[in-house]
Symmetry: C2
Subunit: 627 residues, 2 copies
């Protein structure tokens, strides 16, 4: 087996209760690495076109990568993927925490889950052995209770649990998969797929050490990461991802009231600094990480918030906070607890509520629809109630749980304007009228609007800081945020390829990019783990292969360039604030889109045979075209 890997993939057929182990040659691992890329490989090869995402024919894949579990900062990540019930296309998301490391220690690199269990089950994997266990007593439990019960049942408090909450059980198409209570494969509705298979959890426990090609070299790089990344990324260490709040607000980039505005009057009440000064209990980290960007908060009034669930990240603060017009950090923290306990993607959940609030204010939803709730922007109690209803698919929540794309169709044509999504997935909390390149990144992401497939700060203000590294890719000059020139498309694409590599490695963007680990040191890390002689060129090609597999999957599912469209709102300017009068220009945006396709080797959005050939995945050509 290759260093850095176990060389074993567990295949679980829940319908037949079969458990098999597959071993693939080293070149398979070198070509597909792990994470997103490995998921793309199996989904494209093994799913027939048109599989119903919530049917037993869909597959759910948990995938570590060569860096997962390596004792170095940023290496505590894994990836989960499936055909998405939210978008109908390639579904994939990465998560931090400790679960991925435990999977590696337990002897596997990936798990492919097929079929559907007759009744609720969970998987337990320990030291190379796997079991399908009854989960009848776990069904319906919130994530904390579920994790506690599994650990008690098995008598091992060191067990790590990836699981769905009631959201996934109830097949909410934006339900997530939680692990370690505060880490999430959040987007594209993977929790619903897991729920559709009656799979409540995957519990891992391992005691084997990862075999490294050059342990001393790994240790030296790990020390460098430990000593340097918290310094380079000090704001993330000090204030968590919430450090972004005031910066974005100042630039008109803090989504406010369903992206109607980009500056929020209540910004100071929801910042990372305020969190630190008020409700923060302590910092948390993922495996082996010194940045410790995760938070743990405790609130006693007006709500009780259990610290077990950590604390809200930036995306959650914006989605449940400013984007819903809510300026109470305590309320946001409660909302965070609820989405975590129920296993809902807080971005899509918050966006759906913000969408409903705008509909309500415009009379498209009435008190009759809301069960009497005054669902206006700023009503924190209503927001919390809607999370409950969405998780349970009750009341108005039954509608909103479908996501804004489907919900708006049911409400009527006038609601379309407020339904901010791409390919059915709600927009993350980064304003594309400010970071205009990111707008292209949103439409180009195979998973729908996604901020984890782009280096979403590839704009002047942060690229100028990162430029020392960008130069090593040949990008010698910064490009302004509102630029959509070919130079910006190059920057976007190169950064996107690196992100797709990181998602395949699997490795953390905050550590790797913001922590300034550097392209070359990352290659050295891969080499000292695997014993390969990789280069930044090969790693960029790994990322390119990953995104091409995902795009090929979408093409097979019938996606075209018409699905790569930005919501109309972002072509309309803010009426006040720093971005007053600023909007995406439709013509420039369209030209940029075409340039992006051409640079990618994706004529009309579809990977060309030559591009797939260049990436060594000619086998994808007939699969992509399969009827």
């Amino acid at each position: 087996m290759p260093y850095g890997y176990n060389g074993k993939i567990l295949r679980v057929d829940l319908s037949s209760k079969s458990l098999t182990t597959e071993e693939l040659p080293e070149n398979f691992y070198r070509q597909y690495f792990g994470g997103e890329s490995l998921i793309g490989y199996f989904l494209l090869r093994e799913l027939p076109r048109g599989v119903e995402p919530l049917s037993p024919d869909n597959k759910l894949i948990f995938a570590a990568g060569p860096l997962t579990g390596v004792p170095a900062g940023g290496c505590g990540r894994h990836s989960v993927g499936s055909k998405s019930p939210l978008t109908g296309g390639f579904g994939e998301a990465e998560a931090g925490g400790y679960w991925g490391t435990e999977l590696k220690m337990a002897g596997f690199d990936a798990i492919i889950v097929e079929g559907k269990a007759e009744k609720p089950v969970y998987l337990f994997i320990r030291d190379g052995e796997a079991q399908i266990r009854d989960a009848s007593h776990l069904w319906g439990l919130k994530t904390l209770e579920c994790q506690n019960t599994i650990r008690e049942d098995l008598g091992d408090s060191g067990i790590k649990v990836a699981q769905i909450g009631p959201g996934g059980e109830n097949l909410v198409p934006f339900a997530c998969i939680a692990n370690d209570l505060d880490a999430f494969a959040g987007r594209t509705g993977l929790g619903a797929v897991m729920g559709s298979k009656n799979l409540k959890a995957v519990a891992c426990r391992g005691h084997q050490r990862l075999s490294l090609a050059d342990p001393q070299a790994v240790a030296a790089i790990a020390r460098w990461i430990r000593d340097n990344t918290p310094v380079a990324n000090k704001r993330m260490h000090d204030f968590g991802t919430a450090n972004l709040v005031p910066t974005l607000n100042k630039n008109g980039g803090l989504p406010t009231r369903n992206f109607q505005d980009g500056s929020f009057e209540g910004v100071d009440k929801i910042s990372g600094q305020t969190m630190k000064d008020t409700i923060l209990v302590k910092r948390r980290s993922c495996f082996a990480c010194a940045i410790q960007c995760k938070r743990e908060v405790k609130v006693e009034k007006p709500y009780t918030v259990d610290p077990s669930y950590g604390g809200p990240e930036y995306e959650t603060i914006a989605a449940l906070g400013s984007d819903c017009g809510i300026d109470s950090l305590e309320t946001i923290a409660k909302g965070n607890e609820l989405t975590n306990a129920y296993g809902l993607d807080s971005i899509s959940c918050g966006s759906s509520i913000a969408f409903a609030m705008e509909c309500f204010e415009h009379g498209l939803l009435t008190p009759q629809d809301t069960g009497g709730l005054d669902l206006r922007f700023g009503n924190g109690a209503a927001m919390l109630e809607m999370i409950e209803q969405i998780a349970q698919r009750k009341g108005l929540g039954a509608l909103l749980s479908q996501g804004v794309a489907r919900a708006s169709k049911k409400i009527g044509p006038a609601a379309k304007e407020f339904a901010l999504h791409i390919k059915g997935q709600e927009i993350p909390m980064h304003e594309p009228r400010w970071k205009q390149g990111l707008g292209i990144g949103y439409i180009m992401s195979p998973t729908g609007a996604d901020h984890c497939h782009n280096m979403h700060d590839s704009n002047y203000n942060t690229m100028s800081a990162l430029l020392g590294e960008a130069k090593s890719l040949g990008i010698l000059e910064p490009v302004p945020a509102d630029d959509l020139s070919p130079a910006k498309m190059r920057m976007l694409i190169y950064s996107s390829l690196w992100m797709h590599f990181l998602n395949s490695a699997v490795n953390c963007y905050f550590v790797n990019v913001f922590g300034r680990v550097g392209f070359e040191r990352t290659a050295q890390l891969v080499n000292s783990v695997t014993g390969w002689n990789t280069s930044v060129f090969e790693l960029m090609k790994v990322g390119e292969r990953a995104v091409n597999l995902a795009q090929a999957f979408n093409v097979r599912e019938g996606f075209t360039s018409h699905d790569d469209e930005m919501p109309h709102r972002f072509f309309t300017p803010h009426t006040s604030g720093p971005l007053q009068g600023v909007a995406l220009d439709p013509k420039a945006f369209q030209e940029a889109k075409e340039t992006y396709y051409d640079m990618m080797g994706w004529p009309h959005g579809s990977p060309s045979p030559a591009k797939l050939g260049e990436l060594g995945i000619e086998w994808a050509i007939p699969l992509m075209r399969a009827e």
Copy 2:
């Protein structure tokens, strides 16, 4: 100025006798490096479309790169370029020796020569100062005499001379530029451009040391190269490039009698081993190189061969030897002396003679045409006589000096079959029916058939040895020599991009690739010279930028995919020997060509705007289209 560079480009207008120095920002050097890429930059920007190559409006550029003159093996190279009088397109060639190093020591990175001197002149550059000097007394001299005279005139035996011989003076369109008597910017007729400007020589002398970012790191890599490359490349050290002769012959890949055959009955008489056992005096090297692949030979009968001119390389042995059916190493050595003394490209010269021999044997040329010479294959004396006539453009030489493309048109339609060229440039001595990928490389080279723009051993037999390195680009499996699949096109393109990078650095293929320096160590060398933080990715993009500039130049000159055609002969099998029955398949070849274009981002052979944008050279888009 950036480390590794002087930061100064000398511009010489021979018409106005002006000498100016240009300084460009560091990012210019980082983007265009030097050599081929820098030449492409200036030719594309400064030459109007349709310039007559031998007119004063053409420009001749001598360009070092950041690695030129660095005290490490492989760093003794520079590049020369111009619009080619042989092809009418991008003309460029690299040369080894010591001249490029001396140019750097003399304070310049490149020389752009414009206009035309009224009467013969030469340039003398010493320690940052440049002079235009009278060369009336040098005109007509062979290269040895010219070099000696310049050194005597200036009283400095350390002066390095790049020059033309009578071939260039007489505007032979495949005249080369010689330096140090045994190194040549051989191909595309650059010597004729120099002759058209009445520029006999560029003499350099410098005493300044190159400023290196990290001299100790450079020294460490230089030691590694010194200690390892002659071991990895032992056959080149022992037998020079002629080591190839028996290997190629055994595989049917030794061009014989104008590529009618691939095995030569006289092979043992012209091998590197035989040279070592008979006429070899000693090994020679380029600057700082331990491989010492160059030869010095001495012959006293039947001809006197002056050791000053070194000894024949493989290309010369095949072009003047087997391809002309000649099995006398002494005769070949004499021919080598003549081409070197007259400044003729031995590949095109030998190929033109082989072409004439085949025409003669088929009665398309008669004794009347040859002045009574029995110009049959195997007639060594006739071959030598034709070199004399070509250099002087006399007798049949006046016709053959035009190259096989033009000569065949004058002889008549029946001669076309024997005129082996691409874009007007004669085929190098590597059999494309054996190395089929190289056939694609030949047609894709912007300079016409050229073996220095492709890693011409990117086939199974040698790639399997090199595969450890290929893996670091993501090429995990070897591809057979006769394969034209997308996997081969990828291998060709990646290797070609690296070659174009080496030609821009400027660095030696024999040291870098065959010596197994490795991609990553090369990046480290660039970094320790320049102080940059480059990566293999950036270096590959440097190569890609270089070839795109060259291709854009050709597009502007009206070249289309119809110029990317292989001579008919290579679609016809050998009738005997190892390649009996083997030929290029027209359909597979055409498909491979289309795949290559698509992989390059060159629809129908023309760089797409997106590709140029991705490479940061959007400025080339309107220039490429200029009418």
